[in-house]
Amino acid sequence: MPYIPHTDEDVRAMQERIGIRDIDELFDEIPKELRIDSLPGVPGALTEMEVARLMAERAASDGRLLNFIGAGAYEHHIPAPVWAITTRGEFYSAYTPYQAEASQGTLQVMYEFQSMIAGLTAMDVSNASLYDGASALAEACLMAVRAHRRSKSARILVPSTVNPTWRRVARVITEGQGLMLEELPYCTEQGTTIPQSLARYAGQDITALVIQQPNFFGQLEDVDALTRWARANGAQVIAATNPVSLALLAPPGEWGEGGADIACGEAQPFGVPLSSGGPYVGFMATRMEHVRQMPGRIAGRTLDLDGKTGFTLTLQAREQHIRRGKATSNICTNQGLLMTAATIYLSLLGPVGLARVAAACVARTQELVDALTAQGGVRAAFPGPRFHEAVLLLGRPVAPVLESLAAEGIAGGYDLARDFPELGPALLVCATETRTSADIEAYAGALQRTLGRAAAA
């Protein structure tokens, strides 16, 4: 019996103690007509060895592509200690640290994570993580409505340069509470939001403006001008950032003159594998004045009965298990294991290592853009400064090109046809510190062959 330790003698003795003759008697309060005695549709048991064989075969059939896709999930080197420690049973198989005295490890990691996120974003306080970047943006929108007491409109301006999936998710999650997310257009020449496009909202009740930096195209937004507009017009600023970029780029807490009100994003780049989309780890930080409106777990440092320093969950009066229907969110847990990985990652990289990762990302992406646009018919869509992604215009439908590249073992980027048809055939590419010059040459060669075949056909 996999994972069930009972011997026949155990079962006999336990039944006798309870006063039953058969385990089935324990289910005698369930109406008979509802009970089942088999589970058609569930296959028979396999041993660990057999499942290991099956999974190895399936993994091998997927293979490993040379990856140039970003679009919200990024391949970075993951230091060996990160998952060796994260999967220690004491982290892996513990629950939410409600019993603080027996959970000081998890609680202190939460505190350290919060400190690192606060440091990176230059905000006062961070929570101990949310599900992922997309849901973190949704929660940030809900939080802004709670935190902005003068604004009654629940209108939030969201530039269309914000990750389109995040925009969709934010809409789904906030819709029930009556938020209105209104799209701002972008400049199709520059790939950035036009600060002047905000002029028509002057004098209106706008709860918040979302700014993604770098934006979905990888381009750098004029965050100072956008933040200044929001401040001048009484709107809060929600910053959505790639946290790796914060080693180089101005942090949300310093945007404009006053900084952002809420910073959120996806911390997957900090030691979390791509893993087909999850589990990842969202983050959120804010100013001290808004901390009671922030959703999610927060660990605080305090003292025990002997005056010794220790950690505990704090500000729990915001949360569902206390406030029930009046909680700041229905969120029950954080993304504990991934937060642990991210914290270990950041401690290994430090300020110097992370700045090197960020700089390598910028440099490799420039090298990639140069290599791919050296061929006829491919050009970069936007001229301005960027972080580690770029939009390329191919002049022909992207999907077949990507299939052809995949056949050569290359994940060539993300097709923008669904969300940005106005750009024409456009491809979002990414290179991080993990891509070498040889990788980039391999991609350029494969693309040349693909486009050459298409031209000949």
């Binding site: 420690i85 006062d124 995040w166 101005a250």
Partner: protein, 487 residues
């Protein structure tokens, strides 16, 4: 007693680093006006310092791998190591979520089969794996109920009925979906008060959220009657799968008439709790709600698997995550279900219930009071320490903290809210009889301590790295991010 660790920032020295992890320096061409002026506050430590620090921190935790963890409502069963190692094969970890489906048929096959197995064990018509936690599964469920009524032009339904014993996430979720909450009472025997249900039902009823077995640790016997009453007024019936472990292979939510359910894969299907996440809250629906499932779901065209999105399911409530949910968690649940197989699924329900009833019986013999003594325990049960509180002045919290000294994680305390001084105890099927007996002995010993030295009990724990923490101070003198001295 284990030593506490300094905060990692206190180990930091300028100029130190885990340099094997630093890529070579490169020049980033970024105009000055976009640049950060001061480096971020991050620690500078050697690789060994980081490894030792986090290893030591891990050792300050109680966990399933190190302690019996009878935390009611959380199903802290053994998390098989194979589930972790097989979900972490390099090809699975390295796969970008937006890579072409043609290059992910292996992982998609696992997820498709997981959908099918979850349909089979729950009796639902269709499953979406995408919600990233139980609470997000609940959100998806209530959002689907809302979308269903709207699609029928039935716009007045804005109330969700929730029993008073429900998890806090139920009312919080209903609020997030813009619903009003009608709370109804439970009877003294743990069943729902059907008169209160009748009074709450109306043309405004969108649905009811139920856990069965309930959080009181007993099976709701009149579930069919409840289902008929709610359906009769046009409402839908939601199953909170928090306690699915109790009935796995014995009775299915679909057969009980539920329209929508969420499953906590981190409970019933043994994916890790990870110190509070990642969870995974797959949802299952009956035919009526199938068009509204959150996307993406795995579909099959001939021999090829692919993700279905809004273009395939135009009435979907939409997407809930940046990609497709917690794939790595789903792979763990898949491995678990394949190793257990159909017979193993049934044994989960049987042996978790056997362990709970045995533990309850032994605790009652040791002098503890069951909250519902006339009822069978499900996979969990409630002991009330109301008598001890009255006679010895000790609380459920005191017992819980003292259990930590005996090397056991505490049961859930003060939940459900309607039973005074309660311990909600869930042993799970993966514990041995000896472990359960040891736990009974510990509680009996604590009871004797309560009678002879209540003051000692009230100051417990005594052997952990810290003693009871000042929660009031934590909330009032908020210290949630480390700052250098003088900053």
């Amino acid at each position: 007693m284990k030593q506490l660790e300094p905060v990692i920032f206190e180990l930091s020295r300028s100029g130190r680093g885990a340099t094997a992890q630093h890529p070579p320096a490169a020049e980033a061409v970024i105009p000055a006006r976009f640049r950060r002026r001061r480096p971020p506050l991050l620690p500078e430590v050697s690789e060994l310092q980081a490894v030792r620090h986090y290893t030591r921190l891990s050792q300050l935790n109680y966990s399933i791998d190190t302690q019996f963890y009878p935390l009611g409502s959380c199903t802290m069963k053994y998390n098989p190591r194979a589930c972790n190692s097989l979900a972490m094969l390099p090809e699975f970890l390295g796969r970008h979520p937006l890579a072409p489906a043609s290059t992910g048929q292996g992982v998609l096959a696992c997820l498709f089969e997981l959908q099918e197995m979850l349909k089979a064990v729950t009796g639902m018509a269709a499953v979406s794996l995408t919600p990233m936690a139980g609470a997000q599964g609940e959100f998806a469920g209530v959002a689907m109920i809302r979308a269903y009524h709207r699609a029928r032009g039935d716009l007045a339904r804005n109330e969700i009925i929730v029993p008073d014993a429900a998890h806090g996430t139920n009312p919080a979720t209903a609020s997030m979906c813009g619903m009003k909450i009608r709370e109804i009472a439970s009877l003294g025997n743990g069943d729902m008060d059907l008169a209160a249900l009748d009074a709450a039902l109306s043309p405004a009823t969108a649905g009811i959220m139920l856990t069965n077995p309930s959080t009181l640790g007993v099976f709701e016997r009149r579930i069919t009657e409840i289902e008929r009453k709610v359906h009769a007024v046009g409402g839908l019936v939601y199953y909170d799968g928090a306690n699915l472990n109790a009935i796995l292979g014995k009775v299915r939510p679909g057969d009980m008439g539920f329209d929508v359910i969420h499953m906590n894969l981190h409970k019933t299907f043994s994916t890790p709790h990870g110190g509070g996440g990642p969870g995974s809250g797959a949802v299952g629906v009956g035919k009526r709600l199938q068009p509204f499932l959150p996307v993406p779901v795995v579909g099959r065209d001939g021999d090829l698997y692919r993700w279905l999105d809004e273009r395939d399911l135009p009435q979907s409530i939409g997407q809930l995550s940046g990609f497709m949910g917690n794939t790595g968690v789903l792979l763990r649940a898949y491995v678990y279900m394949r190793i257990l197989g159909a017979a193993g699924m049934r044994r989960v329900g049987e042996f978790s219930t056997l362990n709970a009833n045995y533990l309850l019986k032994r605790l009652r013999e040791a002098g503890f009071d069951a909250a519902y003594p006339e009822r069978r325990a499900s996979h969990e049960f409630i002991v009330t320490l109301r008598r001890q509180a009255r006679e010895q002045g000790v609380t459920a919290m005191d017992f819980a903290k003292r259990l930590l000294d005996y090397g056991y994680h505490a049961p859930t305390t003060y939940f459900p809210l309607l039973v005074p001084e309660c311990l909600l105890i869930e042993p799970t099927e993966t514990e041995t009889r000896e472990e359960l007996d040891g736990f009974v002995d510990a509680l009996a010993a604590i009871q004797r301590e309560a009678e002879t030295d209540a003051a000692m009990l009230k100051a417990a724990p005594h052997t952990l790295p810290v003693r009871r923490l000042d929660d009031v101070r934590a909330a009032k003198q908020l210290d949630v991010a480390w700052k250098p001295a003088g900053a």
